[in-house]
Symmetry: C2
Subunit: 419 residues, 2 copies
Amino acid sequence: MNVKEYMQQLGQAARKASRLLARADANQKNAALHAIADAIVREQDALLAANRQDLDAARQAGLDDAMLDRLTLNAKGVAAMADGLRQIAALPDPVGEIDEMSYRPSGIQLGKMRVPLGVVGIIYEARPNVTADAAGLCLKSGNATILRGGSEAFHSNQAIAACVHEGLAAAGLPAEAVQVLATTDRAAVGELIAMPEYVDVIVPRGGKGLIARISAEARVPVIKHLDGNCHVYIDDTANPDKAFNIAINAKTHRYGTCNTMETLLVHSAFAEFMLPRLASAYWEKGVELRGCERTRAILGEQVKAATDEDWATEYLAPVLAVKVVKDMDEAIEHINHWGSHHTDAIVTEDYGRSRRFLREVDSASVMVNASTRFADGFEYGLGAEIGISTDKIHARGPVGLNGLTSQKWIVLGDGQVRS
Amino acid sequence: MNVKEYMQQLGQAARKASRLLARADANQKNAALHAIADAIVREQDALLAANRQDLDAARQAGLDDAMLDRLTLNAKGVAAMADGLRQIAALPDPVGEIDEMSYRPSGIQLGKMRVPLGVVGIIYEARPNVTADAAGLCLKSGNATILRGGSEAFHSNQAIAACVHEGLAAAGLPAEAVQVLATTDRAAVGELIAMPEYVDVIVPRGGKGLIARISAEARVPVIKHLDGNCHVYIDDTANPDKAFNIAINAKTHRYGTCNTMETLLVHSAFAEFMLPRLASAYWEKGVELRGCERTRAILGEQVKAATDEDWATEYLAPVLAVKVVKDMDEAIEHINHWGSHHTDAIVTEDYGRSRRFLREVDSASVMVNASTRFADGFEYGLGAEIGISTDKIHARGPVGLNGLTSQKWIVLGDGQVRS
C-alpha cells in the first residue's frame, strides 16, 4: 500500500470513529482517559525502553542537546503524562453544552449547541508527551484524531499509542478514535493536510518553518501559532514598582516561551527614570539589551543599536529590544506593526489609556498591569492547551477544549412553518 | 500598473483603513450607514441609469432571464438597499463587547473582547444589492472590505460605490474602508485570495463552481456555503398535522433557496399513512417525486425511481427525493452521509428521539418540529446575513455581524507577575 492509500484509509477510519466519539457521553470519555493514564503508569518500563531506542538513534544521528532534551522521557515525564490525562478527565465536557436559547417572534426557540469539529490532524516534533496530551484533549472534546509526531520519537509514540488504544478499548471506544501514524514517510504529512473529506482541521506544533510550510500547503483550516513577539509598554502614568516587576518577569521568568516579552517600550517622559533601574536588573540576570538611539543615550554604549530586524525578532533568548516612544499612540503603532499579534501589555494607572490600549492593540491577548507570561492555557483556566493561536479566525490565543469544538444552531419548534 | 500591483495597493490601503475602522465608535459607523442610505435614495436615477448600461450589455451578451433578473435594479430595489443599511445601523455594535470576565487564582481578571477580523474580501456574482449589503455589514462590524462583484454589474457597482464613499466621507471615515474593484480582470480574484498579509478572510457568494474553486485556491481562510441539501425526517411518533405542514412548507415555500428541503425521510411504520396525503399535496403544487422502492410501492409508478445521485442533489427546483427508512438511526445515518450539513429537521413527539437527533445530526442547523426554511439570518435575529456557512470552523450556519468578528482575550491586572 502506498502512502496515499494508507492515509486515505486512516482518514476514512477517523471519520467513522468521529461519529461514535461525537455521541460518547462524558463518563465514557473520562473512563477512557483514566484507563489510558493507568496503562501509561503501568507500562512505564516499556515506555522508557522505547524512548531509549529513540534516544540511541538520535545520538547516533548527532542531534543536538536541546533536541535530545525534548525527546527524553523519564519516570517523572511518564507520571506527568498520566497526570495530564487525569486533569483532562476532570474538566467539564464541552460537548452538548447549550447556550443562548431564546424564543424568536416566529415562535421557534433558537440556541447553540457545542459540538466536536470531527477529525483533528496534529503534526508535531519530537516531544513524546504531546502524543498523550493531544490524544487526551481530542478525546475529551469528542474529536477523532490523527497524530503525526516527529520521526525521532517514533518508538516512544508507538508505545504511548499502545496505552491509548488499551484505554479506548477498556471504555468501549473505537481504536480509530486516536491513530498515530505507523510510518515516518514525510509524504504522509502532505496527504494528511490535503484530505478535506476526512480531516476538519490541522494543528501544527513546532518550528516556524514547519508551520509556515503547512499553512501554505494545507487544503483544510489550520489552527496555528507562528510567532510570539510580545511587548510590554510602560506608560508615563505607570506605577514604577508594577512596571519594574512586570518588565522583569515578562522577560526573565523564562526565555524560551512564546509569551515572553521580546521588546520593551517606554514612554519618553518615563524613560530616564525607569530604564537605568531596569537595565541593571537585566544585566545582573545576563540579558543583553539592544536599544533605539534614545535608549542608548540614557544607558550608554553598552547597549547595542537595535535594527528593524530586532523589532521583528522573537529571540527566545536572554536578549531584549528596548525602544523609547513618544507616547501611547506610538507604542500601539509599533506593536500593531512589528508585533506578532500574540500577547502585549501596558503598565499604566490611567483609566482612559488602559481602555484605549485594550481596544486598539490587535493581539490575541491584551493585558493591563500584568505580565505577558500569563498568556497560557493553564493560567487562563482552560485546563490544558493544544496550542496558542495567532490567527483571528475560529480560535485566538490559548486553544483548549472549546477551541476543538464548534457550535451548531438548534431550533425547537412546535410545528412552526415559515409564512 | 499590473493587476498584482493594483491589488497589493488595494490590500495595503484596506489594512490601513481597517485600523481606523476598528476604533471607530458605533455612532460614527451608524452615521456613515445612514449617510450611505441617504445618498442611495438621492442618487436613485444615477443608479438606475448605471444599471441600464449593465443590462443593455448583458442582453447583448445573451445572458439568460434568470441572470438578467438578478442583475436588474429597480426603484423598489434601490429603496430596499437603503432600508437594509438603516436596519444594519439599528443593530447593536458587536465591536468591543466584553464577555465572561472572571478572576483567576493568580488574581488577574480574564475575559474576552469582540473585535473585527480586519479586512474581509467578498467575491460575488451579478447582484448589485450585495454591494450595499456587504459594505454595510463589514462597516458595522468594523472591518475594511474589498468587494469584487460580477463583471456584468460593473457600472451598477461603481455607482453604488460612489454612494458608499460619499457616506464614509460624511462620517469622517476613510474611503478605503470599502473598496470596490475598478477592474473586471479575472486575475484580480486570484490576487485577492492570495494576500494573507492584507486580507483576513474571504467570503465567496455565488455558484458552487465559483466557491469550490476559490476554496481550493485561497491562501486565506474562507467562510463559505457550498450546498444546501436539507432533509426533513418524519418519525413514527410525529404529530401528523405538524409533519404535513412542515414537509409541505419546507419544500414548497420557495424552491430556489438553500434551506429548502431536498429529501424527505419517513419512518417505515408511518409511511403508508403519511405518504399518500403528502404526495397529493405535492402533486397539486407540481412537485415531482423521486422515491426509493418502498415509496414507489406505496405511491405507484408515477414516482420515478431515485438513484444515489438524487440523495446527493440540491435540486433548487420543484423536485423532491423521498425515502422510507427503517428507523431514526437510518435517517440520521442517511443525513450525515448524503446531506450537506446545512439544515435538517425531525418531526417527532418523542422526548428521547428529539434529543438524540439534535445531538447526532452533524449540521449547521438542526431542528425539531420546525420547517428548515427558518435557517436564515433574519429569522435567527442576526438582522442580516453575509451568507450561510456550511463550514465547522469559525462560523457555522447563518453568518451575521458576529461572524465577521473574533474575540481576543483581555487581562486586567494590578501588577501581577507569574511565579
